[in-house]
């Protein structure tokens, strides 16, 4: 956590995403993209870490992220995903979805494809009538799914001009985020606190399942699925509560964890270490939730005396059950740390890949940490 310095970039960052590394590669990610919001001219920028800068004390490269290239983006960047190594999909507050291509050879960005009226209100024939914000986008090459304030779900395919499938009026409230549950199923969360599963194999425009919170219908802002165990889903709400759901059973969350003091903007399971979860919030904090219990391997006589570690004793069978689903995760030594040094304004976005974490804030700063598990 020593090298968690801020770089001020003169634009409020709404999204940060690491470029995915090829599966065979062993090195950490080197490139990330950011999207800005609330500027007169918003931008998508691509940054590089690790190549430049001086050698640190341990011999690894340190240095600030360097801007490689950027491109103008119409409207706020509401959501952004890397489609593949070269293409970035961005969702705009004007209702359009754009695919940008990053040219490695001359370090430029260009517009590859755009779906102009992916999301709109009521009347698409009247030009520029009520563009609705596109609030979430998720990719699974070659498909792109987008959701927006108009309650519409679109399924696009790269290089196809029209949407492959559109679910009109999927939701009467704003859809805040979307993620893939399986290759043909998606999860959406909306502003009346519902988690819905949609199955694209079915032709009807109804969700196949609806989950909702008990009590007040607090809007849900973000959703993420456990990378290995596909029935475990985490969502973050407007009151900063983290909810863990098991989509195989029940219609209510498995556990509710009181986390932040304000809206939770993003929740991410770590893709390769799913015992680690990261959340960021409007209250300016970024929390690292760590349920890994690697002490369980040691024989018990090492634990005599000293502090009591209330560890979940993992037998060979039980270790398959994720710590997230146990009824009271906090009982089992979950460590929660706040990673942002001095919190002032909201942390809007974060992304984790390998040992690297990047996040962007409303204080126009980007934080990069390349040694998460050191």
């Amino acid at each position: 956590m020593e090298d968690f310095s801020a770089k001020f970039v003169s634009q409020k960052i709404s999204k940060t995403r690491w470029r995915p590394v090829p599966a065979a590669a062993l090195q950490p990610p080197e490139l990330f993209a950011t999207g800005s919001w609330d500027n007169e001219e918003n931008k998508i920028s691509v940054w590089s870490v690790g190549d430049f800068g001086s050698l640190g004390p341990n011999g690894e490269y340190q240095g600030e992220p360097q801007l490689l290239c950027d491109i103008r983006h119409h409207g706020d960047v509401m959501d952004m995903q890397f489609f593949d190594q070269e293409r970035i999909v961005a969702a705009s507050s004007t209702g359009s979805v754009t695919v940008f291509r990053h040219h490695q050879n001359n370090q430029t960005l260009s517009v590859n494809q755009r779906w102009e009226r992916a999301h709109y209100h009521v009347d698409p024939d009247i030009p520029f009538y009520g563009g609705a914000s596109c609030t979430g986008v998720i990719c699974n090459n070659p498909e792109i799914v987008t959701v927006g304030e108009d309650g519409r779900i679109n399924l696009f395919r790269a290089d196809h001009r029209e949407a492959v499938r559109t679910i009109e009026n999927a939701d009467s409230s704003t859809l805040h985020a979307v993620t893939f549950l399986r290759t043909t199923e998606i999860l959406t969360v909306n502003s009346i606190g519902q988690l819905k599963i949609w199955d694209f194999r079915q032709q009807r425009n109804e969700p196949s399942q609806i989950f909702s919170l008990t009590g007040d219908r607090i809007p849900l802002h973000c959703v993420d699925r456990h990378p290995n165990q596909q029935h475990i889903v985490a969502t973050g709400g407007q009151d900063g509560m983290l909810s863990i759901w098991d989509v195989r059973q029940g219609s209510m969350p498995v556990s509710l964890l009181n986390a932040h003091e304000a809206e939770m903007w993003e929740v991410h399971f770590h893709p390769s270490n799913p015992d680690h979860l990261f959340t960021c919030s409007e209250d300016g904090s970024l929390w690292h939730w760590d349920t890994s219990t690697d002490v369980s391997e040691k024989p018990s006589f090492f634990h005599q005396g000293g502090r009591s570690t209330t560890l979940l004793s993992h037998t060979a069978n039980q270790s398959v059950i994720s710590a997230w689903l146990s009824n009271n995760p906090t009982k089992d030594r979950m460590e929660i740390t706040n990673l942002v040094p001095n919190q002032t304004l909201s942390v809007n976005s974060l992304d984790v890949l390998g040992p690297c974490l990047v996040c962007g804030t409303d204080a126009e700063a980007i934080y990069v940490n390349r040694h998460l598990f050191a």
């Binding site: 500027n39 008990t214 002032t344």
Partner: protein, 628 residues
Amino acid sequence: MCFAWAPGEMLVYETLFPKECAEKRPGCPNIVIVRNDLDVYSQTLRKLFNESHGIFVGLQRSEEELAGKSRKAQLVRVSKNYRSVIRACMEEMHQLAISTRDPELQGQHSTQVSILSAMELIWNLCEILFVEVAPAGHLLLHLLDWVRLHVCDVDSMVREVLSSENPSKHKDFWNAVDIFVLQGRMDDARHLLSKEASANPTSMGMCKILDDLMKKMPILSIGNTQTLTEMELKWQHWHEECQRYLQDGTFASNLHMESICKILLGDENAILEKKELMTSWYHFLVTRLVYSHPTVKPVELRFYAQSSLDLFLGGESSPEPLDSILMAAFEFEIHQVIKECSIALSNWWFVAHLTDLLDHCKLLQSHNLYFGSNMREFLLLEYASGLFSHHSLWQLGVDYFDHCPEYGKVYLELHIERIPLNTEQKALKVLRICEQRQMHDQVRSICKIMAMKAVRNNRLGSALSWSIRAKDAAFATLISDRFLKDYCEKGSFSDLDLIDNLGPSMLLSDRLTFLGKYREFHRLYGEKRFSEAAKLLLMLMTAHIAPCSFWMTLLTDALPLLEQKEVIFSAEQTYELMRCLEDLTAGKTDNQKLQVDDIETTKVEILRLALARNLARAIVKEGTLEGS
């Protein structure tokens, strides 16, 4: 020509050029938008605003945790942080100025660099005099550091001299030695002097003596435990030694070395001769002090400062704004410093943050300005208002208003209502700011705006979620009426996912509760749970949850239940229903009765018939004994 103020502090000029020729063409009007605060829009300066915002908030939050020396050290650290931010900004601006090709931009950037460096100069001096409050002795050391850091570019010249083949023959050699001496950098001066000694054996003797003098010069270092009096005595002794060497004519043969010796003696004329090297009167001031009054006290500074300024300028030129600011600082006139800076600089950033820091050092009396707030608050309010005129930096302004105890809240309330809410995400952020500060009126008005937008776009679920956030019962009623209207027109509910899953939010408004329960009735009916459905229906009417306008619909819904083969409504319940029907028809005035069309009368008749029949069956059923 006329103008108007817009909320973003923009002055809009509409200039009409009336044509005085025969054809009465309306002159083409030009609208010119003049922005008050151009700096806010600079990319590089944005970093300054953001970083300093972080430091500012940190300072406010640190409060009075520590006291005395540690508090002072903390404040000095904060001041240094501010300065490093200014420096970083300056560096970047400088890079921009070098790399840009457009001459106009380059000019702009260079101007900005010089403004920033002037700001840092002033801030540094204020830090030394007001925050650090260095006592006599240490004061001069700090001032020396200040001068070394900011005035004239020594290093490049020295590098040139040293890298040449024969340093002592370089044209700038003696300039380099002089400037080192003028800045009190004895070791560096001696290092250069040794080059002269080695190159020129004839002057070796003189060099040795001069070197010796320089080495022996008493300097009060920070860690030194000498008292001032000791230091003064030593210094006096050393001064006399230099005097002796000068009078003996030791350096007579070498003009350069003689002038150096004079400088060491603090001879004003000798120092003034090196005006070009020093480039500024404050450098002259510090050099004078080093060699004539090293133990100067802070209160004595003003006299030396004034005389240095006069001597340096020598009546040729008049002082510039920067000079008067620095002079005010030397005179310890804090208010004067702030006032002059406000006038000279185009942006409130500098004065706002400096004043706030000085206020934390408890240096500003509550100097009440005639509009009620004190100077610190006034400046912060002005600065933050400037931020609010920017499309993006308004979020920073919020924290500044928070820390203005008198008028901050009012300013915030007025400004925050004028932020354009383009997306729901932005509205959510603004809402969160209002909620955290108990600004309930603003919360309600923002939620109402967003909810109205949603209703207009037919996003009833969004509208409902906004009314829930604001706990706005009236709006929830409006939305429910919309739903019910849709139902009456179309015969079925839209947005079932919303109505079916209202949960506790149903209780927000009566109408909403009715909607939820009515939908439940439909569900029960669909599941053929008739008796429960019947009970619910009756309850809706008798408990007055249903609006009167809907009773007819409810009664019509009761018809199929009444017509069922099985008796669903008990006699009691049928009496209730009949009562409801009578209430409904009796409530209509005579006029309405005349205008009522056939369908209505038919409906009422059918209902009456069905109710009567049901009553009959119910009485019979209840009167019958079971079994046998």
